[in-house]
């Protein structure tokens, strides 16, 4: 019966593995090699040691981009999770209670369907839409809504607010996904727990902090990881929405966009690969930290 097992295994693995090795593993390995070269993106290259990393260390734009990534990494998940939790709670247990049974608000299904929809849109298309929502003259949606007497807000062209605008777009797109995710988590919390607490006279606020939140902890961690990944990758938003390539005055510069600019606009593919290597270790750190947290939880569960 074991006859033909190995030819079958090899036959099934060879194509997917080859594709993966060439385009994914190969690319990551080459990134390390190229980070030590002066490759422009075309033609040959010379090995220049760690020059790219020295240059990186002294490059103020790199540090600005890294700082912006960290801002987004901290603020965007917190805001998204807070709002999503709030809405999910209202949808599931924010409704009337009758005889101690807590229920979701009327129409919660419709809300969930609407909230989730932006998740289905490409970030690139969302970026184009919000480029116009934040338009800096009367043709922009927000400036169009403001009273005629106001002078138009600059939004993306204002270096104080440009990054916040991009963060808002991320939150706008993501909230619905987490409302659905948290709703699923809340749905699996037994009704009898809420009933018992309600009989004991617990208010909605107490229910939220004492029951819902602790029981959702696992789901929150998953959300944090997913949002962390999204926070690192704002390429589409910055490439499409930002004024003057990550501007104004680098106010919306992020690492993904730095990699793109250096590789394809500045003809410094070697330097772009060096930024990639730094990012590799940052991601690894993030992954290791998350792993530690989840491992501990797995034992507890």
């Amino acid at each position: 019966m074991r006859h033909g097992k190995y030819p079958f295994i090899i036959g099934f693995l060879v194509v997917p593995l080859a594709l993966y090795l060439v385009f994914v593993v190969g690319a990551y390995l080459q990134m390390f090699q190229l980070s030590l070269t002066d490759w422009s993106g075309f033609g040959g290259f010379n090995y220049i040691g760690v020059d790219n990393f020295v240059k990186l260390w002294d490059d103020p734009v790199f540090w600005v981009a890294l700082r912006h990534n960290i801002y987004i990494l901290i603020a965007m998940p917190i805001v998204t999770i807070a709002f999503a939790l709030f809405f999910a709670f209202l949808l599931n247990v924010g409704g009337k209670s009758r005889g101690g049974v807590t229920q979701g608000v009327w129409g919660s299904k419709v809300y969930r369907v609407i909230f989730f929809f932006p998740q289905l849109l490409a970030l690139a298309i969302v970026a184009v839409i919000f480029g116009r929502v934040f338009g800096s003259d009367r043709s922009g949606m927000l400036n169009g809504l403001f009273p005629d007497s106001w002078s138009p807000w600059l939004f993306l062209a204002d270096e104080r607010w440009a990054l916040a605008c991009i963060g808002i777009v991320l939150v706008w797109q993501q909230i619905g996904f987490y409302v659905v995710l948290f709703s699923a988590g809340m749905g699996s919390i037994g009704q009898e727990i809420y009933e018992a607490a309600a009989l004991d006279g617990a208010t909605k606020v107490t229910l939220f902090f004492r029951i819902t939140l602790p029981l959702l902890w696992d789901t929150l961690q998953v959300a944090w990881v997913y949002l962390g990944i999204a926070a690192f990758d704002c390429f589409a938003l910055v490439n499409i929405m930002s004024v003057n390539k990550g501007g104004p005055d680098n106010a919306t510069q992020v690492l993904s966009y730095q990699i793109y600019l250096n590789a394809f606009q500045n003809s410094q593919a070697g330097y772009a690969s060096a930024i990639g290597v730094v990012l590799f270790f940052l991601t690894l750190t993030f992954a290791a930290l998350t792993l530690r947290v989840t491992r501990r939880d797995a034992v507890n569960a």
């Binding site: 033909g4 097992k5 079958f8 295994i9 099934f12 693995l13 997917p16 594709l19 993966y20 060439v22 385009f23 994914v24 593993v25 690319a27 990551y28 190229l34 490759w39 993106g41 709030f86 209202l90 949808l91 599931n92 924010g94 409704g95 009337k96 229920q103 979701g104 919660s108 909230f115 929809f117 289905l120 849109l121 690139a124 298309i125 184009v128 929502v133 009367r138 043709s139 949606m141 400036n143 659905v180 709703s183 699923a184 789901t219 961690q221 998953v222 990881v225 997913y226 990944i229 990758d233 390429f235 589409a236 993904s256 990699i259 394809f264 593919a269 991601t283 992954a287 989840t294 491992r295």
Partner: protein
């Protein structure tokens, strides 16, 4: 970071609790409705605005009053977007690329996942972890090497190049998800077929695939949405002179937005946006539950 999700996927949406009528008006319930309604407006508002603006002339758009109805419904913007701005072409390119690459991803991904989940052989764990480790790193990290690899194969500006790269970068999650899924399926039926003399191939196509239908549907939806919305990879692979005939929808819309910005001529852009959003709304309206389940599949414990 994927180790968060080791359990088999579950359906994300639970039917919302149906609220029962009650005479007493609960102030919290009222506030809940207001909060939810506000976010529903914030979600739908920009999309409704895009739809309204798509019928307006450029001078109407600059009047402000973003939610005023258009003076008369003109479809000229739509014919312009379809023919002059080539939205139709981009749309068909996207359909073509995603159809082939999702099919390829599913075939190759389920083949690899099947042998990794169901067969013991030396190197099994190593190959599995090789695939899964790809989940930890963002795609844009190795932008320059991806470009270099595709270029060296002569596949720059070709659908073949884009499709192969899509498949390669979709394999990590597909293999990870399906391995977990295949492991949960009962072994008895498989063994019975083995006793009856069914070969490896037959067992895969006639026994495993039908049994794994729900998991395969979820991950297919996940891949379709992910590949349809991809922006970074097409921007890298379809670039340079003459590449615009091969652009996908996200790229095309982003480009229309740039050229619309040069001329401050927005009406065609809004029509193009509407044309790219409407199909998503229709598909979402029909497959709403499956889509929510598919997209949250990776995150639900």
């Amino acid at each position: 970071m994927t180790n968060l999700v080791t359990d088999p996927p579950a359906v994300a949406t639970k039917p919302a609790p149906v609220a029962t009528r009650e005479r007493r008006v609960n102030p919290l319930n009222g506030m809940a409705h207001i909060a939810l309604l506000l976010w529903a407006l914030a979600t739908a508002g920009p999309l409704i605005w895009v739809l309204l603006a798509s019928f307006k002339s450029n001078s109407e758009i600059f009047l402000g009053k973003p939610f005023a109805l258009p003076e008369h419904f003109s479809f000229k913007t739509y014919t312009d977007a379809w023919s002059e701005a080539h939205i139709g072409q981009y749309f068909l390119n996207s359909v073509f690329v995603v159809a082939i690459s999702t099919a390829g991803t599913m075939l190759l991904g389920s083949m690899a996942a099947y042998v990794l989940a169901r067969y013991k052989f030396p190197g099994n764990r190593a190959i599995y972890y090789l695939f899964v480790s790809g989940l930890a790193f963002p795609t844009f990290m190795a932008l320059a090497p991806i470009f270099g690899i595709v270029k060296s194969m002569g596949l720059l500006n070709t659908f073949t190049g884009l499709i192969l790269v899509y498949i390669a970068y979709s394999l990590s999650f597909t293999v990870f998800f399906l391995v977990a899924f295949f492991r949960t399926l009962p072994a008895e039926i498989d063994e019975a077929a083995l006793v009856d003399g069914a070969g490896h191939l037959r067992r895969f196509f006639q026994i495993m695939m039908p049994m794994a239908k729900s998991g395969l549907i979820s991950i297919t939806i996940f891949n379709i949405v992910g590949q349809w919305n991809q922006y970074l990879l097409p921007v890298v692979i379809m670039q340079g002179a003459g590449s615009d005939a091969n652009w996908v929808l996200t790229q095309g819309i982003a480009n229309i937005s740039v050229s619309a910005g040069y001329h401050a001529e927005w009406s065609t852009l809004f029509a193009a946006l509407t044309l790219s959003i409407l199909p998503m709304i229709v598909v979402y309206g029909i497959f709403q539950r499956q889509i929510q389940a598919g997209l949250t599949a990776g995150a639900v414990k």
